[in-house]
């Protein structure tokens, strides 16, 4: 789709994942950096949504286009959900959830890129 955006998104996922892993190992709970990186990631995902919706018509096959749009929206849910869980949970599992969430967002972003490149 938009390669620089995908790279930015994957880097943001990596930063969030590393931060969560660091906190997990140090036994720390959610703090400002986690929330801010999460917010930045979400913002970039919203940009991706706008760009993706604008370009979706380039995908010829109807079902594939629907898949693409569904992924664009689904990926938005993950980051807020894991950060919310992390805020509520007061054990180290909180950071485990954030780490998992960052991984999932990265997979979904890669999958979006794959659906795009296979159908355009």
């Amino acid at each position: 789709m938009l390669q620089p955006l995908t790279v930015v998104l994957l880097v943001a996922c990596a930063v969030l994942g590393l931060l969560a892993a660091h906190h997990l190992l140090r036994g720390r709970l959610v703090d400002d950096p986690i929330v801010l990186v999460g917010a930045a990631l979400e913002l970039a995902l919203l940009v991706q949504l706008v760009v993706g919706l604008g370009k979706a018509s380039a995908i010829g096959d109807g079902a594939e286009r629907a898949t693409f749009i569904a992924y664009l929206f689904t990926v938005l849910v993950v980051t807020p959900a894991v950060v919310l869980i992390a805020i509520k949970e007061k054990t180290q599992w909180a950071m485990g959830v954030v780490l998992g969430g960052a991984f999932v967002v990265a997979i979904l972003v890669a999958r979006l890129q794959q659906v795009w490149s296979l159908n355009v």
Binding site: A63, T74, V77, A81, K88, E89, T91, G96, V97, G100
Partner: protein, 177 residues
């Protein structure tokens, strides 16, 4: 458990300390709830897409996807709520899920022509990194562990087995399905 008023004083004090009451949706349970929520989301999205866009292509896998989505939703909310009825419902969902992934996994291997389209459960959840196979086992273990911990935490809160006579709770829920 024979003298319930004896452990009212002693049971809660020494071992557990100020710890929080065991809950299926806390601690490790948060991770389980997150993963179940994600699978619920994925399976729901996939089945809506499959059923609305190209249902004729493979009705059976698509209906299985929808069933899986429903079960994941029940498991997510059951574990997250964590009260007795919810946990019981989640247990049933997890057992059905485990049976489903085993049966459909085997079925899709023996008769791949019946599954021209993938479901969450085909090939034991290979397309999802075998998470659908691992998850019900983990979930059932966690529910069991939480139940044990609750017993230690507050023995008085655990009802005797003779209260309703049906510890598995399968019958009422099956009929409600």
């Amino acid at each position: 458990m024979s003298e319930p008023n004896m452990n009212a004083e002693t049971g809660a004090t020494s071992e557990t300390g100020p710890a929080e009451r065991p809950h299926t949706g806390h601690g490790f349970g948060r991770l389980l709830v997150a993963v179940y929520g994600l699978l619920a989301l994925a399976a729901t999205g996939r089945s809506i897409l499959q059923i609305t866009e190209y249902f004729d292509r493979a009705p059976v896998p698509f209906l299985l996807s929808a069933l899986a989505a429903l079960i994941y939703l029940v498991a997510t909310f059951g574990l997250a709520r964590g009260d007795r009825a919810s946990v019981r419902l989640a247990t049933i969902a997890l057992v059905i899920e485990l049976a489903g992934v085993l049966v459909v996994g085997r079925w899709s291997q023996v008769r791949p022509e019946a599954f021209p389209e993938k479901t969450v459960w085909s090939h034991f959840g290979q397309g999802y990194g075998y998470v659908p196979l691992l998850l019900p086992v983990l979930g059932l273990w966690w529910i069991r562990r939480t139940a044990r911990a609750t017993e230690d935490f507050d023995p008085a809160a655990v009802a005797g087995p003779d209260e309703h006579g049906d510890p598995t709770g399968t019958n009422p829920a099956r009929s409600a399905d």
